[in-house]
């Protein structure tokens, strides 16, 4: 302290400089004790830190040198464990049955460079691989293995068994690439509805194509209105019709009349979406084209007499005719180069119900002429028959109807359109518009997706409830007394309309090449479902007395379909002779009148 005071006394010392003491300060007494305590604390702290470092070092050795599988979970801890999102969402039917899903299916590729560097013989490796995968071409595999390239696919899809077999070969450079493949567990049952995907999981046809963004984006299953059980019944019966009548093909569709939900849709011949036919124009055969073609959405047909439903509805709804109106059907109509005559000719004046029940072309043509071209065009337009049907399929798979231009819609067109010739629409058009004719008069857009219970269904009124009621009675009449008596299914009050159209081949109608169709609904006292079945070029047989018309081909099939699907769809049978039902479907003008059977 004294020496410090002395230094401060020096007037020349710079004010900012304070020299250290010249001699060490010897601690004694309290200072010595303080130093001792500090040293002890320092020692303790150093020991503690040393201990910590030893623990850390030990742990490091444990992690690095003595690591085992248990540490893997610590690495994974920072990640949230969630299943990887599917490449494409599942497609399920209305009951949750899986229609399309993705399953693991690794691809096999070769790094030829690595393989050759490892001294592997490409010839022997190719032999081993083709022994495990016999579908592959040995020459092709050999060429890829010997190419020297660092990447070449050998196959894009392996089953677990094949993967195991290839893995067991242990060939260096032959590697697996994780991947998923679209699978269709029900095979060809839902071929045209669901469609199929490319190897890159891009929808190529059906709803896989139409709903591609939704299926790829959401990850949530897409629930269809389709019922796989009903679909099976429809397809089974259509297949029977093809076999029985040696037909070229057949198609069918079933729709809920109140929601527009399509519960079944089949087009035969079809294909297995797990192995779809090629669409490569160079390799595609006529058979491939035929199998992949969806007659329901892509096929446009002149459907014939089933169109009389719309013709009659137009006349009744526009007050052009009533149920008691009559039209002269005594003689064929000759107009231009056409002669319009009746297949089941009565050669007399017929009332509206008789024209419908006997499917009179002459009567229908006269009814249409009475309404006029403008009304006819407006009415068909209102039913959506002059534009593509709005549905979830891609627009390339939904055909645009064919009909005369307004300027060319002459009287002859009015007459032929009355009985379904001179206008070509898809079966989907036909069923959608027919549903509106019998459900009380509301046109609902058709949908392949399930409508949730209680959801509001879009719809627009196209005919009055009274006209709709009259059409129910007329359609019931056709099954009771008309051309479709074989469509009757006891207990289910079936109604409908037959149509047997000659196919237009190269601008000529061919008498022997028919398209027979039947559109039916049940139960007619309170319609729930409508069914359209059609068969392409059927041939009459012994059972049908040589006939290939709708009444002998698809009408009986519809009866069988209804009897099989009604319990599945929850439609209970009723007593068709009960006064309530008889009165509901009684045509007043025919009460007490004996109708002629065809």
């Amino acid at each position: 302290m004294l020496s410090a005071q002395r230094l401060d006394d020096n007037p020349c010392r710079p004010r900012h400089f304070k020299p250290p003491p010249c001699a060490p300060v010897i601690a004694d007494g309290a200072a010595a004790e303080f130093l001792d305590t500090t040293r002890t604390r320092l020692l303790l702290a150093a020991s503690l830190f040393a201990l910590i470092f030893i623990v850390v070092a030990g742990r490091l050795i444990d992690v690095v040198a003595m690591a085992d599988g248990a540490n893997d979970t610590r690495v994974a801890r920072s990640h949230l464990v969630v299943p990887p999102p599917p490449v494409r969402a599942d497609i399920v039917d209305r009951n949750g049955t899986l229609l399309a899903t993705n399953l693991d299916s690794p691809a096999l590729y070769v790094d030829s460079k690595t393989m050759l560097q490892a001294g592997e013989d490409p010839e022997a490796a190719a032999r081993a691989i083709t022994a495990a995968l016999p579908d592959l071409s040995p020459a092709d595999i050999r060429a890829k293995l010997a190419s020297g390239k660092s990447f070449a696919y050998l196959t894009r899809s392996l089953t677990p068994r094949q993967e195991y077999a290839i893995n067991n070969l242990g060939i260096p450079g032959v590697e697996f690439e994780r991947g998923e493949k679209r699978r269709y567990p029900l095979g060809d049952l839902v071929a045209h509805v669901v469609g199929y995907c490319s190897v890159d999981n891009i929808g190529q046809a059906g709803l896989e194509r139409g709903l591609n963004p939704a299926i790829k984006g959401s990850g949530k299953p897409v629930t269809l209105a389709l019922d796989a059980r009903v679909q099976f019944v429809l397809k089974d019966e259509l297949q029977q019709v093809i076999t029985q009548f040696n037909a070229k093909g057949a198609a069918g569709i079933i729709m809920n009349v109140h929601t527009g939900e399509i519960v079944a849709m089949a087009s035969l011949p079809d294909f297995d979406p797990n192995h779809p036919p090629t669409t490569d124009p160079k390799r595609e055969t006529a058979d491939d084209k035929d199998r992949i073609f969806n007659k329901i959405t892509s096929g446009e047909y002149e459907l014939g007499s089933v169109f009389k439903i719309f013709n009659t509805a137009m006349a009744l709804d526009n007050n052009v005719a009533t149920m008691t109106s009559t039209f002269d059907a005594r003689n064929p109509i000759t107009i231009g180069r056409f002669t319009i005559e009746d297949y089941h000719g009565k050669h007399r004046i017929l009332s509206v119900p008789e024209i419908f029940a006997y499917s009179s072309n002459i009567g229908s043509a006269r009814m249409a002429v009475a309404a006029g071209a403008q009304r006819q065009r407006d009415f068909l337009g209102k039913l959506g028959l002059l534009e593509p049907v709005p549905i979830e399929f891609d627009k390339v798979e939904v055909a645009r109807p064919h009909f005369p231009a307004p300027s060319a819609w002459r009287e002859v067109n009015v007459m032929t359109i009355a009985f379904g010739h001179g206008i070509a629409v898809t079966p989907l058009h036909m069923i959608t518009a027919t549903a509106a004719m019998i459900n009380g008069g509301i046109l609902h857009p058709p949908t392949m997706l399930r409508v949730p219970d209680g959801a509001k269904v879009p719809g627009v009124r196209v005919i009055s409830a009274k006209t709709s009621d009259q059409l129910r009675k007329l359609m019931r009449l056709v099954v009771e007394f008309g051309t479709a008596k074989l469509a009757a299914a006891p207990g289910y009050v079936v109604g409908g309309k037959t149509g047997t159209a000659e196919k237009n081949v190269g601008g000529h109608y061919e008498e022997k090449r028919l398209l027979s169709s039947f559109i039916g609904a049940f139960p007619m006292n309170d319609p729930q479902y409508v069914i359209l079945t059609l068969v392409d070029e059927p041939h009459g047989n012994k059972e049908s007395h040589g006939y290939a018309t709708a009444g002998w081909t698809v009408a009986p099939a519809t009866s069988r379909i209804i009897q099989r699907i009604a319990p599945l769809l929850g439609v209970a049978p009723v007593d068709e002779k009960s006064p309530t039902i008889v009165n509901a479907l009684q045509i007043e003008s025919l009460a007490g009148k004996k109708l002629e059977y065809n």
């Binding site: 699978r183 929850g570 049978p573």
Partner: protein, 159 residues
């Protein structure tokens, strides 16, 4: 006087450190368990998904129909068997409980209805030996449920 105080705080700090370390280890352990359980769930979900696909494949309606044709001979329900809806068809009465078997509360024994095939011929006598519910006459009120046996007998009679 300062040494015991220091020792106390060192002990507290050490105990807190050890406690903290133990809790952290426990949490890590639980976290690992959770991760493992989640991994198992994901793996099982994938297995369920694959099995669902396989189950659907094995239950193709066409395949089931073929198996039925070969082994069972079941036929679709005829409308006359289904007056008033499937739900209204009465189930066959349960067989009597043998003496000595304790009655389980809340358990209802229901025997499956027999299809109208040749199997039915062997099933009918068995049901007649049991004290089945009295079958209503054929002209019974249609609003009342009719037993399935009666319906099948009617169906067999009409064929």
């Amino acid at each position: 006087m300062k040494w015991p105080g220091g020792a106390f705080w060192i002990a507290v700090a050490f105990a807190a450190g050890v406690g903290n370390y133990a809790v952290k280890q426990m949490v890590q352990g639980l976290d690992d368990d959770l991760t493992n359980v989640r991994k198992k769930i994901v793996a099982e979900q994938k297995q369920i998904h694959d099995l669902t696909a396989e189950w659907t494949y094995l239950n193709q309606p066409e395949l089931l129909a073929d198996l039925n044709r070969r082994y069972l001979g079941l036929v679709p329900i005829a409308p006359k068997q289904e007056r008033g809806g499937i739900d209204e068809i009465a189930m066959r009465a349960a067989p009597p409980i043998p003496p000595g078997v304790p009655e389980m509360p809340g358990v209802v024994t229901v025997s499956m209805p027999t299809p109208p095939t040749k199997l039915a011929a062997t099933a009918v006598p068995a049901s007649t030996s049991a004290p089945a519910a009295p079958a209503p006459p054929q002209t019974a009120d249609k609003t009342k449920p009719i037993s399935l046996d009666t319906l099948f007998e009617q169906a067999a009679g009409s064929r």
